[in-house]
């Protein structure tokens, strides 16, 4: 019993899944394919049109048939009434026999196949309800027709549709047309079975339905064919555009014929060619610029070395200068030269990244050690600023294949930034790891980031506040380089911030160098800080 129930439930579940799957797939196809939509709409509309047309046609045929039948029936009735008048007059002596003979004659014209039945009633005869031919029952003449005739003047004729019933065929009654008329003494009814007409109508209806189905299918096929003619070039164009977007600039569409689609293809090809030219030009230009920057940096280095030697000498001997202004100039020269050097270094680094010359020197390291060492490096700076660095490190090692130099540079950058913008508040550094990835988050409680700044912080030479004093002498390229480094690892570097609530930077790296990163062990928005709409930028390395 239970097994059966279980089986049934499982079967039901499978069925439901199958139905759901089919409907989902159908919906998807509906969403994605113009062809499916157009064919479906064509089907729906043509079904409606064909149905309306069919009903209309059937009504036409039916009313034409019935009109003909009624006309013939009334003529027959006129003739019958004339004969009744002629043969019976108004007073049949020996009523029965002559009445029988008249009915027989009336019926004889119906032919052996029985086109109609006749019912006649002598209104003056109290003892018989009239004469009917064959098995026809008197009840076949509807009461409403009799009433109508009873109140109508002599010689009037009426007709109606009703059900004919027969003796010995009680279970089966057929539809029929009943016409009736009366002379002074007699009521005469002709009853025409409509079996033949019904059969004709059924046949017509059946053929109409068949034709309609074929027509609808044909329309759907035509719609499918026509949309195919349009959709295939459109699909080809979409594929071409995709490939173009993917960077295959040599992609072109095939031009066939001279129609609109051919024009589309030609325009597309023109566009692609122009794009290719422009992009080539731009690439060349960018290449030249990068090369220029790289060259400039290199070229600056040689005189800088000389300047440096001279400046060092000046600086060491500054106490020998009497003029305090000169001494101050020497100090200034020294500090600005340092800054110039680091700027030059950053520029070289970033031009290396731009040229794609940056390489990953990965080794398996514990992220906690890297964090501890970097924090140790900037501890002095932090104390100077009045900030405390709070570490939240896991108990177990967080091993990852990383480039020590680059990760340290990233961390230092983040920490220096945090100290610089931390307004003397606490700086929280968290490390976490999961099966695939490790993450380091640096949280400060400074001014935070305005909306949209979460992304801009990574732009080159961007500053949160241009008016801010340069206390630490950042080059404006640090975060930019950091992000390049993170991306080199296949990781993410993301920022979150809110005005007044501080900001948080999160570095997420895969445990294995070059593996794809699916998620981060740490949240980008620090717990407790994010409201319903956190302002953050999710910039993924792969994009």
């Amino acid at each position: 019993m239970n097994a059966v129930k279980r089986l049934a439930r499982r079967g039901l579940g499978t069925l439901r899944r199958a139905v759901r799957g089919v409907s989902r797939r159908g919906y998807q196809r509906w969403r994605r394919s113009i062809q499916v939509r157009i064919v479906t709409w064509t089907l729906c509309i043509s079904v409606i049109v064909v149905a309306i047309l069919g009903v209309f046609l059937m009504q036409q045929v039916s009313s034409a048939l019935m009109d003909g039948k009624v006309k013939a029936a009334r003529l027959q009735l006129d003739e019958g009434l004339a004969q009744v008048q002629r043969d019976l007059g108004n007073s049949p002596e020996d009523g029965g026999g002559r009445l029988d003979a008249v009915v027989n004659r009336l019926k004889a014209r119906s032919g052996p196949s029985g086109l109609y039945e006749v019912y006649i009633r002598d209104t003056s005869d109290r003892f018989s309800g009239g004469r009917a031919t064959n098995e026809l029952r008197e009840e076949s003449v509807p009461r409403r027709l009799r009433e109508e005739l009873r109140h109508a003047p002599t010689g009037s004729r009426s007709y109606t549709f009703g059900k004919l019933s027969y003796v010995g065929r009680e279970s089966r009654s057929e539809r029929g047309l009943i016409v009736g008329g009366k002379t002074a003494q007699f009521e005469l009814y002709y009853l025409f079975p409509l079996e033949q007409e019904q059969r004709t109508l059924t046949n017509v209806a059946r053929s109409l339905a068949g034709v309609g189905v074929v027509l609808v299918l044909l329309l759907a096929a035509i719609a499918s064919l026509v949309t195919r003619q349009v959709v295939i070039p459109v699909r080809l164009a979409a594929q071409g555009a995709q490939r173009l977007a993917a960077g295959r600039l040599e992609e072109r569409m095939r031009v066939r014929g001279e129609d609109d689609l051919a024009r589309l293809a030609r325009s597309f090809n023109d566009m692609a060619a122009n794009l290719q030219d422009k992009i080539g030009e731009l690439e060349d230009l960018s290449q030249v610029q990068r090369q220029f920057v790289s060259d400039v940096s290199h070229e600056l280095r040689t005189p800088l070395t000389t300047i440096r030697i001279a400046a060092d000498m000046l600086y060491e001997n500054r106490d020998t200068f009497d003029d305090p202004a000169v001494r101050r100039s020497a100090e200034l020269l020294q500090s600005q030269l340092e800054r110039f050097e680091s700027l030059l270094g950053d520029l070289l680094e970033i031009s290396r990244h731009d040229a794609g010359a940056a390489t990953l020197d990965a080794e398996s390291l514990d992220m906690r050690d890297l964090v501890l060492r970097t924090v140790g490096d900037i501890q002095g700076l932090a104390e100077r600023k009045g900030s405390r660095v709070v570490l939240q490190l896991p108990g177990e090692p967080c091993m990852a294949e990383v480039d020590r130099r680059r990760v340290e540079r990233i961390l230092r950058n983040l920490l220096v930034n945090a100290v610089e913008h931390g307004e003397g508040e606490d700086i929280v550094v968290s490390v976490a790891a999961d099966r695939d990835a490790v993450a380091v988050a640096v949280r400060d409680h400074g001014v935070g980031l305005k909306p949209g700044e979460g992304q801009m912080v990574f732009d080159r030479f961007w500053r949160a506040d241009p008016a801010r004093a340069r206390t630490t002498g950042g080059t404006g390229l640090g975060l930019s380089i950091s992000r390049e480094d993170a991306q080199l690892h296949g990781g993410w570097l993301q920022a979150w911030g809110e005005p007044g609530a501080g900001s948080q930077f999160r570095l997420s790296l895969p445990r294995v160098a070059g593996a794809e990163l699916r998620g981060s062990p740490l949240p980008l928005v620090p717990p407790g800080a994010g409201d319903a709409r956190p302002l953050f930028a999710e910039l993924e390395a792969g994009e």
Binding site: G96, G97, A108, P112, R121, N134
Partner: protein, 618 residues
């Protein structure tokens, strides 16, 4: 369309220019395709109309013989009304009893609850010529006696046999008042306990003469037995007819014919079922002991009276059986061997007559061709034996029967019988198909029937039903069981039919004569045209002289035969499939008349064969 067709056939080569080298030729193909489409459209549009011409379709002529299942007229009965008095109740009851619908349901409403009356489907019927309006003879507050008087024509027994019996009858109905104050019939006349009292009109409307077929004593020829069967429902009619057949012959033919159905055989299941021209007759297993062939012959001949039955199947005890050398599904016309007229009658046979010089001659052409030579005969009313070996006839005065054999050469007629009574005459001799020669010796109010087997002396038939009447003609039917006579009934010659019974010891009983029709008055001569029809010379109401009529044996209406002057017709002869011949005397010449087109019943008579007393051998 006419303009399009040549374009279409010649168009492509003429119109299409030579394709340009290397140019696309695709668009150039469209015009012919369009043309084909246009032609097709025109064709289809033409077909969608009612045809306005075309070939001539012909069909076979329909044989409109009178069929049992022809359309009929039914009387619609009326329920008793509360205000009706005793006379009206009786009138209503008599009218309603003519309707067989729903087993006389409406008629039974006229009866008081305790009165039992179930006429059923085979009631006995008293047939009245006319009926006077019912009359109350005694009435109290709660009881009444109503009398109905009228002229009875005859009765139909419950087996369907009609028996003419003209008399004046008087029946009375007892009526009582129900507690609700309604008059109802409480007592029916004795004769009506299980029967009906119908007028002739009612009978003609509600009952239909049909034939049942039984075997003659020769076990080969079938004999029709006409009965009256109520038409309740054309669907049930075949079953009713087969039931009547299984019940055996009516009292009239009882003993004269044999049925092949073993006693106790009845219809099982639904009776006779008809689907698509094929009837299935389902007999109970008692029929298993009977001869399938003989039962099939009887059923085939009985069922062929229905136009809608073309073929049929016999089942006994639920299993289909087939006669020897035949399919299970038999044609209703398959058993011609057992035809009542014999099965070789379709061949047109020569008519014989007495030519101008007194010789027996054939009457095939305009001029009689003598078959005998030698001395001229003084023979009248010749009758040729069916085997063409002998001829019988009368002397011109009719007081002797002569025979002559053989038919060729110069045989001399020899007397066979001579009347010994004063004023005694013989009717023209009649040959049975079994070789018996029949003749009636008759005088005023007396007659004797003689029969002669070849090689034996003539013998008088011991039981002769018309011995007290004068008989003008005596003809044995081709089945050898029935005999038609013209008998003098109270001064009026009347056509009657009787039957011939032979008992085990060979004693012959000819009797049970019944009038066939009361329409024909002075009948003069008659002959069997086929098993269902007599050709009679006689006078109808307004005729001034005897004219030929076809008289159905069933008692249906007689019809006249041919038009035109016939002179003074004296004798008539007919045979199945052969033209009717009439011996007449016009402007002092004896002539034989024949219809110009014998297949047409109303074709004109042509009297141009100089001969007398025409006759057919079979």
């Amino acid at each position: 369309m006419t303009a399009g067709t040549p374009d279409h056939t010649l168009g492509p080569p003429r119109r299409a220019p030579a394709p340009r080298p290397g140019g696309p030729s695709g668009p150039r193909r469209i015009p012919p395709a369009l043309l084909v489409f246009a032609v097709l459209t025109l064709c289809v549009a033409g077909c969608a109309n009612v045809p306005g011409g075309g070939r001539v379709v012909s069909g076979k002529p329909v044989e409109r013989a009178e069929q049992v299942d022809d359309p009929y007229v039914r009387l619609i009965p009326v329920r008793p009304r509360p205000e009706w008095g005793p006379e009206e109740i009786v009138s209503g009851f008599l009218a309603a009893s003519a309707s067989f619908d729903d087993d006389h349901k409406v008629a039974r409403e006229f009866l008081a609850a305790q009165t039992s009356w179930r006429p059923g489907l085979r009631p006995s019927v008293t047939v009245m010529r006319n009926r006077e309006a019912p009359r109350v003879v005694k009435q109290t507050a709660t009881q009444a006696v109503v009398k109905v008087v009228g002229d009875q024509l005859g009765t139909i027994a419950s087996d369907g046999q009609y028996r003419a019996a003209a008399e004046h009858i008087e029946v009375s109905f007892q009526l009582g008042r129900t507690p609700q104050g309604l008059w109802r019939v409480t007592g029916l006349p004795d004769d009506e306990r299980a029967g009906l009292l119908l007028t002739q009109v009612d009978v003609e409307r509600a009952l239909r003469p049909v034939n049942l077929y039984f075997f003659a004593p020769d076990q080969r020829t079938l004999v029709p037995n006409g009965i009256f069967l109520p038409v309740v429902n054309r669907r049930d009619l075949p079953s009713q007819l087969v039931r009547a057949l299984l019940n055996g012959p009516t009292s009239w033919l009882y003993g004269a014919v044999k049925s092949a159905f073993p006693p106790g055989t009845h219809l099982s299941g639904e009776g006779v079922e008809i689907s698509k021209d094929i009837a299935t007759v389902d007999l109970s297993k008692e029929a298993g002991t009977g001869s399938v062939e003989r039962m099939s012959a009887q059923l085939s001949w009985t069922l062929r009276q229905f136009s809608e039955i073309k073929r049929w199947r016999l089942r006994i005890g639920g299993e289909a059986v087939a006669p020897k050398d035949m399919n299970v599904t038999q044609d209703v016309r398959a058993w011609e061997v057992n035809a009542p007229d014999g099965h070789e009658e379709q061949v047109t046979q020569s008519a014989y007559g007495i030519g101008g010089s007194g010789f027996l001659s054939t009457l095939d052409g305009r001029v009689p061709q003598p078959v005998t030579t030698g001395n001229a005969w003084r023979l009248s009313r010749p009758a040729v034996a069916p085997d063409y070996q002998e001829v019988a006839g009368l002397t011109s005065k009719g007081d002797q029967v002569l025979t002559a054999a053989p038919l060729t050469g110069s045989p001399t007629p020899k007397p066979l019988l001579a009347s010994s009574r004063r004023g005694g005459r013989f009717t023209p001799p009649s040959w049975g198909r079994d070789g018996l020669l029949w003749t009636v010796e008759t005088a005023k109010d007396k007659s004797w029937l003689w029969v002669r087997q070849r090689g034996r002396p003539p013998a008088r038939v011991s039981h002769w039903g018309l011995s007290g009447r004068e008989v003008m003609a005596f003809r044995v039917a081709r089945d050898g069981v029935r005999a038609a006579v013209i008998v003098d009934v109270d001064g009026e010659p009347q056509v009657q039919i009787g039957r011939i019974v032979r008992d085990a010891r060979g004693a012959v009983d000819v009797g049970s004569f019944l009038p066939v029709s009361s329409e024909l008055l002075r009948a003069r001569d008659l002959v069997w045209r086929d098993y269902g029809t007599l050709a009679v010379l006689g006078q109808k109401d307004s005729d001034t002289q005897a004219l030929p009529y076809l008289m159905p044996v069933s008692g249906s209406a007689i019809t006249s035969l041919g038009v035109g002057s016939l002179g003074e017709p004296r004798t008539i002869t007919a045979a199945p499939g052969s033209p009717v011949l009439i011996g007449t005397r016009a402007s002092n010449r004896n002539l034989v008349c024949k219809q110009r087109s014998p297949r047409d019943q109303f074709s004109e008579w042509a009297c141009d064969i100089p001969a007398t007393d025409p006759t057919y051998a079979r």
